[in-house]
Symmetry: C2
Subunit: 217 residues, 2 copies
DNA sequence: TAAAATATTTAGGCAAATCTAAATATTTAT
DNA sequence: ATAAATATTTAGATTTGCCTAAATATTTTA
């Protein structure tokens, strides 16, 4: 698989999770920041390679083979993100662009040994699960902070939005994975929430609360 | 720079060390395992990018800019080789192909932090010097084992041939970097040498002796 | 349900990096 | 010094992945 083909598989994998149906040409084009006509070309190619099914005008869906391949790329991406944060002092908002390159390195031994070196991490720096060697993805039970109620308590376990802007915002407010958060109040008017984190009171916007995943406890 | 352009710069850099003169189209074609006509195309492109000088029929020579770029790629290659051997349990005959991919990852921070993480290694697993941040390459004084005389003693510091076959041969005979070797005898007839390593006597071919670098002591 | 809006595909082209075959330049050897 | 051998370049194709513009299919809406 070429670099470009791998990126298509990854994009389609992510889109399939959201929609369940076949993934539309336009959706892929948007995700890949390319044109619909380019997507059509690629879908034909990938379908010939048996990694996805494609009928004109009916979108695409990965075959088992394609899904397995996509999961391998995602596994590599997330392991490299762990490596960058834990061993090379990267901040969690810096890792994505570099991991986008590293995920395409081809070497089974490399990724097996990297996993071992990192002591088999379960999640990446954003809280997303790392697929294991066999492609199993263990999802953690998690809900959005925005769906929690007054007096609920939880542990921060992931982010929905991995943009640098949001991650830096969390850093600034000392919100990090593993931290305990208690909901003190919710404002009907604008969905903002007041929370207790490290014994400090903090008010965050509805948008922020809608991008932070929590494990209730 | 594209992946292919980076590989051309690296190849030309290595060839320039050997010949001093402008590097010929054919020499590059052989090093890159491609056709001379492809090389001509690329030389024109690289010369427009000012990383080398090229006059038809007169070969190529890197500009300062091109040389600096090549050195950066080589620095990355060798640092990744160290990482693979020291942290991920790779053998020294397995690292090259993977480092060929890793050397093209673009991130200044990545390579700076990797260097720090590895505690600023001076040489890669084959004994080749790792260029520093500023592009300085500190060459170690070294000679070929084949040029040593009876009763000379030295420390094994590098290999000339990095092929998997040769490296496995060295492993099998327990010859490794850092080991002390004493020359017991040389055979005029076929240039084979008898050496003492770890108190064991060993006879190696002239070819092998011609691919092992030693520091006299 | 037919027209309008939207989505998708097709057709034709482009740039990068490669190739083969032919043309041209340089070097070597007699 | 000239013919033969070798090296290099040019010309013309090919593949991959992308593009724009036009054609066609599907969906929405009035």
């Amino acid at each position: 698989m070429t670099l470009s083909e791998e990126n298509y598989l990854k994009a389609i994998f992510h889109l399939e999770k959201k929609s369940k149906k076949g993934v539309s040409t336009n959706a892929i084009a948007e995700e890949m920041e390319t044109k619909a006509s380019s997507v059509t070309d690629m879908l034909k190619k990938l379908s010939e390679k048996k990694v996805l099914q494609y009928k004109p005008y009916q979108g695409a869906s990965l075959t088992k083979e394609g899904r397995d391949y996509a999961i391998k790329v995602i596994r590599k991406h997330r392991l490299w993100e762990c490596f960058l944060v834990e061993k090379l002092n990267f901040n969690w908002d810096e890792v994505h662009v570099v991991a986008e390159q590293l995920e395409h390195i081809k070497s089974d031994k490399l990724i097996r040994e990297l996993d071992k070196f990192l002591e088999f991490p379960k999640t990446d720096p954003h809280g997303d699960p790392i697929p294991d060697q066999d492609g199993n993805i263990f999802m953690v039970e998690k809900i959005l902070l925005s769906s929690m109620q007054q007096n609920d308590k939880g542990i921060c376990v992931g982010v929905n939005d991995s943009s640098s802007a949001f991650l830096k915002y969390l850093d600034k407010n000392e919100i990090a994975l593993g931290k305990t958060i208690e909901v003190i109040g919710k404002e009907e008017f604008d969905d903002s929430m007041t929370i207790l984190i490290k014994d400090k009171k903090l008010t965050i916007s509805g948008l922020a609360a809608n991008n932070l995943y929590m494990k209730v406890c």
